[in-house]
């Protein structure tokens, strides 16, 4: 039973690099979310897609963060250029449209040095 799959699990980047995080939602789910998780800020919504259309782009994260949903079963989050303050766990989640439960992946831990 495949849940939400995120790759890689860990990523180390140098300041200024471009990194791409990947996510495969649960098969059949229409809604896809990207969250950033830090100890200080907790979970912050970066992007929200419904049926591949961007519904919310997380305001403050617009300038260097870009999420895309290339097809219904694959999404990417690009951070360009990376900064040390981007070090965090990035969580992808999906749900059925109007569904009652959001399923989370295990996350990608990003460290920017």
């Amino acid at each position: 039973d495949a849940g939400v799959t995120q790759t890689p699990r860990h990523e180390v980047a140098e300041k200024g690099q471009t990194i791409i995080l990947k996510c495969e939602p649960v098969s059949g789910h229409n809604d896809l979310f990207w969250y950033r998780q830090t100890k200080i800020q907790g979970l912050e919504l970066l992007s929200y897609f419904r049926s591949k259309s961007l519904m919310e782009d997380g305001g403050a994260f617009k300038d260097r963060f870009k999420a895309e949903m290339l097809n219904s079963s694959f999404s990417t989050l690009k951070i360009q250029p990376t900064e040390p303050k981007d070090s965090a766990v990035y969580l992808c989640a999906s749900s059925l449209q109007g569904g009652t439960e959001v399923f989370f992946g295990k996350g990608t831990r990003l460290t920017v040095v």
């Binding site: 849940g3 939400v4 809604d31 979310f33 907790g42 979970l43 919504l45 929200y48 519904m55 919310e56 969580l91 989640a93 749900s95 109007g98 569904g99 009652t100 439960e101 959001v102 399923f103 989370f104 992946g105 295990k106 996350g107």
Partner: protein, 113 residues
């Protein structure tokens, strides 16, 4: 804007003792309310949810939560904790099912034998 407050960053309990985790939300209407748990190096998993009806909802692993509208609260309870309940617990709210979940900062629970 909606917000969620979990006043206790850390809670320590002995195995077999009862547990209550507090959650208060700020929203003018009646939101959809959720509790999630995050085990080390894992994504978030849904414990329980409230939409309407009976204000006491049952979840997995013996957890329950009570919605008190007059207090804008949704506290989580468990009668007798096990060491495996050690994790971080997140309260979350939404206007509309899973769309744009807003999370609290979480409460880290440590259960000692």
């Amino acid at each position: 804007a909606q917000s969620v407050t979990q006043p206790d960053a850390r809670v320590t309990v002995s195995e077999g003792a009862s547990l209550q985790l507090r959650c208060k939300y700020s929203y003018s209407g009646t939101p959809y309310l959720f509790w999630y748990v995050q085990y080390p190096r894992q994504g978030l998993q849904l414990l329980l949810k409230y939409y309407s009806g009976d204000p006491v909802v049952q979840g997995v692993n013996g957890f329950e939560a009570e919605f008190i509208k007059s207090n804008s609260s949704f506290h989580l309870r468990k009668a007798s904790v096990h060491w495996s309940d050690s994790a971080v617990y997140f309260c979350a709210v939404s206007y509309n099912y899973a769309q744009g979940l807003t999370f609290g900062l979480g409460t880290r629970v440590s259960v000692f034998p």
